[in-house]
Symmetry: C2
Subunit: 173 residues, 2 copies
Amino acid sequence: MSSIAESILDAAERRMRGGGFNGFSFREVADDVGIKSSSVHYHFPTKEKLAAAVVHRYADRLGERIDRELAGGVDPYDVLTNAFRGTVLSANRMCPVTVLGAGSLGLPEEVAAEVRRFFRMCLGKLVGAGLLPDEATELLAIITGGMVVSAALNDSTTYDRATVKLWRSHRAI
Amino acid sequence: MSSIAESILDAAERRMRGGGFNGFSFREVADDVGIKSSSVHYHFPTKEKLAAAVVHRYADRLGERIDRELAGGVDPYDVLTNAFRGTVLSANRMCPVTVLGAGSLGLPEEVAAEVRRFFRMCLGKLVGAGLLPDEATELLAIITGGMVVSAALNDSTTYDRATVKLWRSHRAI
DNA sequence: GTCTATAATTTGATAGAC
DNA sequence: GTCTATCAAATTATAGAC
């Protein structure tokens, strides 16, 4: 993957956090990167492929992080809770896949498939770490919904209120 | 509110469940209703006003439902859980305000304000019914996130798995 | 209140030069 | 790989007839 392609994914991901699949355009992404929209098409022929690639990379990165922290002995309940807490507190504030997931009824199939893959991966790794399926699903729902309500209220403490009962390690937050 | 205006809100709400604010157009709404897009503008001058009106009506209706069920003795934990379970199982499958909330970083201010009002109302009514603020926030997050993950996985049982621990009345589901 | 017509802009995508 | 140029379609919105 070329450095320009990475920059395109960066820009598209940033834009998608705000408005999902319909919330960004080739021209906006191109302007962010400093190239022309036709050059974006050279790297990603269609918008569907671009959005799918954003989700795929995002899932891979989160998956690696989960594996790393679980291997390091972090409690499974804290891994995802902490990862998305970082998102809520960052300038981006939202997980782009959550935005796509909320609007998934209107997504092109290839993007919808990547979104499904993302949430299945989260559930699979939690179950692999010892949670029951119902527990994993509830955990993922709390985190996802906590992010949505937190963004909607424009108040990051909402995420902490939603997740306060999840923390197992009682680390300083 | 005229009957045509109600039909416009119906169509816009239906479209918004799929793609949020950027997921519908005046032409699509007009076609659904059977009028021309310029006639939609007569009832709602801008897209921002139309989307805000959709959220406002949706919040009012849900607020009335919550009040009615609480007055009828339904357990506060079950009221919202059951209401959105109906949404997940319906043809629409998603709450339009949840879609907007997920993409709220990119919303016009008037729409964002109505989305905030919606989630504040939900929290306020739960706290008014006796829940602690942390409990109300967690409950709302589970329901909201359960809907998002359920829609993303295209599997309504995910919502039931996410909310199984919430049910207080143990009614048949 | 609804229509036709249209303005002004943006969209995703392609062709072809360099 | 990036550019200019362009396309066909869609977008929000307005003016004015009926």
